[in-house]
Every structure is written in C-alpha cells, then in structure tokens.
Symmetry: C2
Subunit: 342 residues, 2 copies
Amino acid sequence: MNRRRSTIAEIAARAGVSIPTVSRVLNNRPDVAPATRERVERVIREAGYVRSRVANALRRGSSGIIDLVVPDLDSPYYFEIIRGVEEVLERTELRMALSTTHDESRRERQWLRQVIEGATDGAILVLAQGQSERLDELRRHRIPFVVVDHRGELGPDVPSVGATNWAGGRAATEYLLSLGHRRIAIIAGWPNLRCSQDRIAGYRAALEEAGLPIDPELIRPGEFRQQTGYDQTCALLALPQPPTAIFAGSDLQAMGVYAALRAHGLRVPDDVSVVGFDDVPIATMVSPALTTIRQPLAEMGRMATTMLLRLIAGEPLDSMRIELATSLVVRESCAPPPSPDR
Amino acid sequence: MNRRRSTIAEIAARAGVSIPTVSRVLNNRPDVAPATRERVERVIREAGYVRSRVANALRRGSSGIIDLVVPDLDSPYYFEIIRGVEEVLERTELRMALSTTHDESRRERQWLRQVIEGATDGAILVLAQGQSERLDELRRHRIPFVVVDHRGELGPDVPSVGATNWAGGRAATEYLLSLGHRRIAIIAGWPNLRCSQDRIAGYRAALEEAGLPIDPELIRPGEFRQQTGYDQTCALLALPQPPTAIFAGSDLQAMGVYAALRAHGLRVPDDVSVVGFDDVPIATMVSPALTTIRQPLAEMGRMATTMLLRLIAGEPLDSMRIELATSLVVRESCAPPPSPDR
C-alpha cells in the first residue's frame, strides 16, 4: 500500500524538523514544542503515515489487537483510563479489545485464556487488587504488558503507571488548612490499599507540619463509592465536635458527602468545605462545582499505552515505574470555616 | 476441549428445565422467570459451557472479535451502551474491539479499513449522524452489523435498536402537568435530529391534550451538553414570564440547568422543577437527585449485541427495528409550582 511508503525521514523533511523530533512525536514524548508537534502530526495525517514499527509488526503477523482489562465499567474513573488508552491507539493501526473481570477469578481466567489463545500484541491491566498470578501467566506467554496501578500496590520491577497519592493527600489538606480549617476529616479507601495509606500519610504530614493533633475519629475508611461518602459524613456529623472540612477519597464519595450534608441542612461550602479526589467529569457538573485533587487518569492510560508500544517494539523503557503528578483543582466547594460565634 | 462437550440438552437436564428455556436464556429473551434464568446461568457457569454457535464460529475460523464503534468517549451515555454490549459478550468467547470516530470521516475510513482488513465477526455501531455510506460498505464486505440508533434516524430495513422518544417526551410533560405546572419549557437536541423532533412532538401532544397553548419561546434547541442546559436556562429566566418547570434533553443538560438556577438564586424543586433524559449514573449522585426519563442505554447495548449474535449465527431476526421503552423515574427534582402569591 502506498501509505506504507512514507518514512520517518520523509516526514522529517516535509515538516522541516529533525528525525529524532519525529520520533519523539511518534512516541508521545513531552519534550516537543506544541507547534512542532502539531506540524509533524499534520504531515503524518496528510501522508497517511503508519508507525513503521506497528506496520512491521503487522507484516510479522501481529494480531493488530491491544488488550485492555479493567475491573468494571461502573465508574467514570475507569472510563477516563479507557479514553486515554484509546487516544494513543487511534494514532496507530491497533484496535483496543476491552474486557472486564468484575473482580471474579473465573472472569480473569477466561480473559487470560482469550488473550493467550486469541492472540494479542500486548495488554494493559487496570488492577483491582494485587493479582500477581495473572502477571506471571502473561510473562510465561511472553505477552508484553503494562499495569495502570493507581493503587500503588506493585513493586518497581513491574512496568506500571501510577499517581502521586501522598502528594495529593498533602495538597488537599494544606489547602484546607490555608483557608483556616482545623478540624479536617479524611474519608479514604480501605486501609489495606497502598493508595489509601499514602493519602492518609500525606494528610497526617500536612497536619503535623501545621502543629495540629491527629484525631483518629476524623480518619474514615470505606469503598470509593457514593454510599461510603454518605455514611461516613453522617458519622462525622454525629461527633461531639464535627469537622468543618471533609476530604473525600474519590469524587463519587464526595457526591455522597454533598448528599449527607444537604440531608442535614448544611450548605457547601458555607457550613462545610469538601475536597474530592480524581477529577472525573462529574466534578464540574455538580453545584457547587467540586474542588478536587486531580488524578491524571486519562494521562495514565496514555502513558501506559505509550510504554506498551515501546515494549512491543522491543525498545527499552526509561523507567519501569512511572508516577504522574496529582494536582489541586480549586472550584467552588471550599471556603473558610464558619466563624464559631455564628 | 472438555468445556465444549456440554450441550444445551445436558444443561436443560442439569437445571431441570426444558431445552427451549435454555435457548431463551442463551438468547437473552425477556420471557424467562428470574429464578429460572439464574438457575440456568449457574449451571452454564459451572459446566463451563460455551454457546455452541460461537464455538462453531470459532472452529470455522472466526476472528473472535466483535467491533463496537462509538462517536466519542466523552459522555456517560456512550459508556452505558458499552457496558450493555460487554455484559452480553462476557458470556461468550468473543472479545469487544472498541473504537471511536470523533465524528471525523478520516477516523471512520480508518475504522472501516481496520475492521475489513483486520477481520471481525460483526459490528455494532452507535451512530453520530446518519452515516449510511459506512453501512453500505459493511454490507458489501458481508460483515453483519446492528446499529444502536438512539436518534431514530434509520429506516425499518436496517437492523437497529432505539428508544421510544415520543413516549418519553410525553411522559415527562404529563408528569409536570400533573404537579400543576402550566409554563413548562423543553430543552432539546438540534431540530434536525429525529429524537429531538419526536420528544418535542410528545411534549406538544401532552400540552395539547391538557388544552394548553404551545409557546415557541419555551422550546429551546442545542447540544446534549451541560453548557446548552446552562445557556438556555439563562435565556428562559430572562423571559417576561419564565417557566416553572424545565424538561432537559439529557441528564448532562439538566446539570447545566441546575447550575444556572443556582447562579440565579433559585432552588430545585422549590422554585423550578427539572426533569432530565437518559438516567445516567450522575442522576442519582446530584442533590437533589434528578427526576428523569430513563432511556435504557445498557439494555439497548445488550439487545443490539444479542441481535448481532443471531445475525452472525445466520439466524433470522424477529424484527429489524426494535424500540425499547423509556420510562419516568421520579426522584427529588420536581414539586408543584410555587404559589403565585408568594
């Protein structure tokens, strides 16, 4: 096919850039100026260029399929990751095969069998709980894989992408402290999850730095779901001295916090401030819009896919474990605490 | 493989039901009692049964892939459909290849080429706009397909699944009328979409039946997005006689309605009632929880997949065009209009 005749050198010449620059664009590296990236991508589009290593793989008898497996399809959270994977794959000739395991070992075995028998070029796994068995099986069948390990459970020897949970926990707490809050509650995931431990550690670090005591009553574990946010908020409001700010472990939990506060006749942020975690689309849709710690889920999906394409091409990874930065996104759900004399 | 030796007759015997009942369960027919369905499904799981027609297809050299193409991955709406497709496929040996077109013809051509060259057993298309060219191309390559045609644009000769938009438009309006509202606004999609036309027709029918005039000022078109809900609500509130109830064209639009009302110091439902359309998960997460017209998106995905599996197996469809019922889901966002003497 004509489209395969384009080469990186031709593209570099047409775009007026160096060959390494074209490579950087193809590999989704950050160190390319936006205008340059756009010019190169336009030339690629116009020339109908197909990544040569992928084209090579197709000639070698590649399946043309990348497998993405997620625990479930019931949260905006997973969809953000899926979107990121898709954004990278749509620039290739590869299709995404999407599967869910529902955390059932039967489904996991079925998926492994499909992937191994049905042929795949590589797999991206969003882990529910530590499932090292599955990873061993993929290794044994020489299937390249990368893990989106948002929970931080894996060691540095597994190709994985995570987020800086500790820094996120600290940033949320520091922000609430800066507004004047002193009674700050944190709703987290279950204590056995690394991401929960890390966020709570960040929360504690910020409080300790401010010279404030840690009140174990204000640290509430649970599921990353709306119901947990609701139930734990009710429990927090029943304390002799309720918190003036609640830092939720997910935006979905924060929606439960909103509902519980509303049920108690309390207003956000006038009476109680709320911070979420994740920054899924719902955060901008609710009123007041949710201030949250952005976990770059789509970027994590993109990064994992870029790493997997390198592994498939037999290229070395710069690092096996990458953590993307979380960041505070200020919207409308936080304010100074109500004055005590109201 | 051992798992392939199980037959429908064996399953029927083990579950203590008739062979047609097992078939009905396998084909996801509604006419099976829930307890019976569960018993049959448990036997199927325990026996490791694989749908024989799919197993046959695999032996015939099937690709093992069903393609699902959606316009975008930016809405909970598409994710509900994806979830439905996955729920049916996870009971088969087929994997789902998920692609997006972003409404770009370049991406559509790329997808078609991938599907045709890369092998597929069949395709489910969620149409953005009428794209009959693509359907012709699939026909030419003898690729079975079903369209999830939520916008109602296709004729009865294309295998498709839709929803009853007219009935949904009427049900929402009748509900608001029953609460005592007389100034009811509708925010819809663009007027060229069949689904918009149908919902507005349902809205008009309800008003006319109640002997109320149609005020063109209260019919506001736009995108199915939050921003449209926000902008059109601001426009409605600027009318000399603003509406006391707003029926939004999507739950995302309704989120924009909520935000605009809040920005104007108006409460839902005390000052203005709001009804959404779709019933995506966000409807239960906001406060007040959104009363909405449920469009059974996951069921539409399931139904399309079941139809496609029949087409792949060479079985006839009961009907080429199926419309699933919409239904009113009452939550907290509607109340009688405020009394005029307040």
